[in-house]
Symmetry: C2
Subunit: 211 residues, 2 copies
């Protein structure tokens, strides 16, 4: 039995109920852990779920950062150092990943607080998450303010990627489900995935085929 | 066996291989069909995979539109009429949904071309997808140009949502997996999901509990 909700009703809901509803409505998300350091080289790790693919040439990936007062540390660190790591989450890390969303004080490392381990790659001044199977390094390109609600689209260019060799298809596609990468829903839901399939480049004059 | 790829190598790959790799790297996405009409009220339907939750108060949802020359119709229609529908995809619609990405001429309705059915809600001048179980109406708030690559972040405010009653939790969370909503990966991969769980609001001084 379906229900239709109009904006007057949605606006009348409690902040908590509306937050869960609206945050779920847009669908499954690319949840990942963002690793940074501050200007004193102290590590920080935080879970972010709104990542977007912006383009492959140049390779640009964005994420939405909440207003500065709600989520200050990651964005300040990125602005200070220009570099940040994005680390996929597997089901065995999900409790620790969600725990990074607690409001630890500035200078407290969520690596220490949650028991996730730092991994350092030579020449890279920001930490990766050792437990992550798929991870990459971005360099800050732009912080675009969203004037409607004080959030930001943070845009980075791809500098380095670490991927298990066995999940890379012959055409470059990554079978992330084989690396155990999960997806999220709403504020606090986490999901495994199973492949339905890949389909050929769509043309107007011929049917799709399965890849 | 993991591999580390540096930016010089990634840039050296073919456009096709790099597109698949980079598009997969950022993770699973909120794939949906966007329904619009042009100024002559002709319907258009197109698959988009980069949707983001921007905020719940006001309720704002964004999506990334490719450069105008690559993906002109949906954005032009939204700018002409201000309203657009976002319709979740289930596994039984995935072939038709992917087929909407073919480059049909302006004025050709992807509803007709793919066999998906229009659904009209009284007072709403843009079509929903009848086969979708979860769908919502957005009103254009802003088109933010991304200067690095000519893409756009299109921001809309929530006007209406249609959701099966039985997937709505007591706290507003939507169990989208129970409505059959799928997620996508890369340019052409589609996935079902299965719930790992939901976790309590994280605090620094107490462990998480399962919801």
């Amino acid at each position: 039995m379906r229900k239709t909700f109009f904006d007057e009703e949605i606006k009348s809901w409690s902040r908590f109920y509306r937050g869960n509803f609206v945050n779920s409505l847009s669908g499954f998300k690319s949840v990942s852990l963002i690793g940074t350091v501050d200007s004193d080289r102290r590590s920080n790790l935080a879970v972010f779920s709104n990542l977007v693919h912006l383009g492959a040439d140049p390779a640009l990936i964005g994420f939405i950062n909440r207003p500065r007062e709600a989520a200050p540390h990651t964005l300040a660190n990125i602005e200070a150092t220009s570099l940040y790591t994005i680390n996929h989450i597997t089901d065995s890390m999900v409790v620790q990943a969600h725990q990074t969303s607690a409001k630890y004080e500035e200078g407290v490392s969520e690596f220490n607080a949650t028991g996730l381990n730092e991994e350092w790659i030579e020449g890279v001044p920001v930490p990766f998450v050792k437990e992550s199977h798929v991870k990459y390094l971005l360099q800050l390109e732009d912080v675009v303010p969203i004037k409607q609600n004080g959030t930001f689209l943070v845009i980075g260019s791809l500098r380095l990627a670490v991927v298990p060799h066995e999940i890379i298809s012959g055409d470059g596609f990554l079978h992330l489900e084989q690396a155990g990468s999960i997806t999220s829903l709403g504020i606090d839901g986490y999901y495994n995935t199973s492949a339905l399939g890949r389909f050929s480049y769509a043309k107007t004059d011929r049917p799709l085929t399965r890849l």
